[in-house]
Symmetry: C2
């Protein structure tokens, strides 16, 4: 005798294959009650099991053995229902269940936090352990899955290898950015690192790029997909102290190839969500001020990505500024770092589509980027998309040993910390390039969510490590 019946069917399957299911008896679904309409003559229980955005309506006739259980039910109850699938008469659904049996698995009481009508996103962050049961957060988490899955499919199909670069590291990828220290020394002890777990100070990684380069120069094409960390005290809706990055790194690849890879990747991600997560996108389009997510995504999916050099981009921005067409908070000049307002002007107003800006001044970029023959710029690129600005940053890497040593010295980094990274240029080196995509930024872009704390299950930021 089995306590639990295992042959439950996902509601996603029932809804997507409704033609096949109509007429079937004894179908079992499990899930959480989203809403209820009760009467003496008949009750309607709307159930969601998390497998998809939409819910299944279950019609319960008083003839059902335990009909009195329905009267106890409220939103949030976990139930199991077995019944016959029939074509639905109501609008908004094509199939519904006529219950043969309905059972309560888990109850809720008045304390259940999600019962309140007004569950703001702010409030939901305080009950992050339960918020995957809400329409908004569950749809965002499904799209998070979709982007992750599409990432593995895109790179896997192209012969890239998924690699795991270290999380705990003794080196600092960019010589910049506050890092978390990892230790087994007792708190408050003298800082005798010889007694620490790794025998020296260690930190949480800010990027897997340098290690990924080692692997690309052996396996050819690799990508990382893992957590990265920044200990900056940026208490903004766009920053987390723990976030996930995807970093492809490709041997025998220059900046042009990389730009093509980045736009192909972005369009593949968007296409995957458009093709497979339409109910989520439709729901999210009703939930925020970004308007119609679907047409915005369709436009980027079909777009040709413009390419423009940083120098040309600065000219465009200066022109806009001088002709008073556009006001910027930050002044634009050759050598300045482009701000989000500048990026958004380029992509939303000037090019009206995605843009790849290349060849930035070397002073504002990291030491490992390949110097152009002009001696002033490096082979960096940023991919800008409407509504967000920069979504991908990458570069061709400096593969000249002497030039790389010079850059490390110029930037006052320590050559000996990079012995292994420099070795890659000494032994069988090859041109190579790579980029990084912040997963959470990509989810915000696709879902239209405006606070990064709502696109990861359990957000980590200054002062907050709950759950």
């Amino acid at each position: 005798m089995k306590e639990i019946e295992s042959k439950r069917v996902l509601i996603k399957k029932v809804l997507e294959e409704s033609d096949k299911f109509v007429g079937q008896e004894g179908v079992l679904v499990c899930g959480w009650v989203r809403s209820l309409r009760k009467s003496k003559h008949c009750s309607f229980v709307v159930v969601n099991d998390g497998s998809t955005q939409n819910a299944l309506q279950i019609v319960v006739d008083p003839a059902v053995a335990n009909y009195e259980d329905i009267s106890k039910m409220i939103t949030g109850f976990c139930i199991r229902a077995r019944g016959k699938m029939v074509a639905s008469q109501g609008k908004g659904q094509t199939i519904e269940m006529v219950a043969e049996k309905i059972e309560i698995i888990g109850t809720v009481n008045d304390e259940y936090p999600l019962q309140k009508k007004a569950t703001s996103l702010e409030f939901l962050r305080e009950v992050a352990h339960l918020r995957a049961r809400t329409n908004t957060i569950s749809s965002v988490l499904r799209i998070r899955h979709a982007l992750s899955f599409a990432t593995h499919k895109f790179f896997g199909d192209r012969g890239f290898f998924y690699v795991h670069t270290p999380i705990v590291t003794a080196s600092d990828c960019e010589g910049a950015g506050a890092m978390f220290r990892v230790t087994t020394l007792p708190p408050g002890d003298a800082a005798d690192f010889s007694k620490d777990f790794y025998g020296k100070p260690t930190f949480l990684t800010v990027s897997g790029q340098l290690e990924a380069e080692c692997l690309a120069l052996g396996l050819g094409q690799v990508y990382t997909f893992g957590p990265t960390f920044r200990a900056e005290n940026s208490n903004t809706p766009r920053h987390l102290s723990e976030f996930w990055m995807i970093e492809p790194e490709v041997a025998f690849c220059d900046l042009d190839d990389l730009a093509e890879l980045a736009s192909d990747y972005l369009q593949f991600l968007i296409g995957h969500v458009l093709d497979h997560y339409r109910p989520e996108l439709e729901f999210l389009s009703t939930q925020n001020q970004n308007g119609d997510l679907i047409s915005r995504l369709q436009a980027v999916r079909a777009a040709k990505f413009h390419r423009v050099s940083y120098t040309e981009a600065v000219q465009i921005l200066e022109e806009a500024m001088n002709s008073k067409k556009q006001k910027f908070e930050f002044k634009v000049y050759w050598g300045c770092d482009l701000q989000t307002e500048h990026e958004r002007y380029l992509t939303e107003k000037h090019f009206m589509g995605p843009v790849i800006v290349t060849d930035y001044p070397k002073e504002i970029k990291a030491f490992y980027m390949k110097e152009n023959p002009d001696g002033k710029t490096v082979r960096a690129m940023d991919v800008l998309v409407p509504g967000v600005g920069e979504i991908i940053g990458g570069s061709q890497r400096e593969d000249d040993h002497q030039k790389l040593v010079k850059r490390i010295q110029e930037m006052q980094l320590h050559e000996k910390d990079y012995w292994w990274y420099l070795d890659l240029r000494k032994f069988g080196g090859a041109p190579h390039a790579g980029f990084g995509l912040g997963l959470e930024r990509a989810i915000m872009y696709v879902t239209g969510m405006t606070n990064i704390r709502d696109v990861i299950a359990f957000p980590r930021f200054s002062g907050s490590a709950e759950f």
Copy 2:
């Protein structure tokens, strides 16, 4: 004018689709020289690009413009070659290239560590930044990718959602296991955690399970795939301080369903490697004492997984011990933790195939496992495979709020630390179950590698955080 030709073809593609390639001219490959045979009349350059185990032989005729470059080449050089693909006369390959042009991209000199004939696995760990260029480590890393990719495919196809549980946490999953502390306090400072980044002590996670349970009870079926950490000073060939875990968690699932999921998953992983990474398995079979990896894996792929309760397993082991059929270092008795020697006896000698042992004594298992009606055992399972012993551990979770509180108290954990975990049993709870697979253990099993430091690109263990 492009400096680098982007249309290179992966050697994997050339070898797998040799019928299509034979006769094609102007094919471009890039890679690293694995071996060379030079003569005045003709030279043979064997090149590997990391895309697959096997290399491509390039025949270079002295008529090629820069034939004198060949004389400079040694193993480890990075080259680019363009030529015509022809059917190979030599044995061991079906296709080879007759070079039209061959160029040196990156050289090596006498200091190149991989030139030595005897590059032991121990030595390669010291040059982990270069070892992805070796036959053994590159094949292991490709199988690592294969298992990762197959994981996403298996769960994705079944409607599971990939979720990211936090890496930095204020809670301790099992109330056991040494943890790394994460901090931004300056080393040696007084331990004033109110000034620390998160305002309290935080640690690197040992498991994403508890958070995954929150998500399963909303999305239905989820899995994690991320790094986990143990600060134990276990300097053994089977332990890392940083390793990757896959943890599915399933709502409306009992231990029987879970055992089925685990065996399906394991067989899918093995099938994927057998079907798509045969050259790697063939190579690795020649490299270790495990003998024929392929037939071992084929056997498990086709096997029915035996199921036995812990109590029955102990009887089997006691019988073997008493009948002097088998000597064990550790004595077996009801209540003991099964050691690897016991697990291997069960799977290799008694059942001669994979075994799932269920219903362990509650005293030797974690607080969150569901108690059986006997009051003595819990709904835990371990999956044992020949050659390794335990490869998967899981359980149905305690879904009774009162019983869980009692277990937390009995194990002297703090109820208030688990408020959110307990909430899952208070509000709309459901039976649920999940297991964990250590990725590195699985790779060791599939590849036959005997040191866990050789199955992850940059291993982390006590005293070692290089690269």
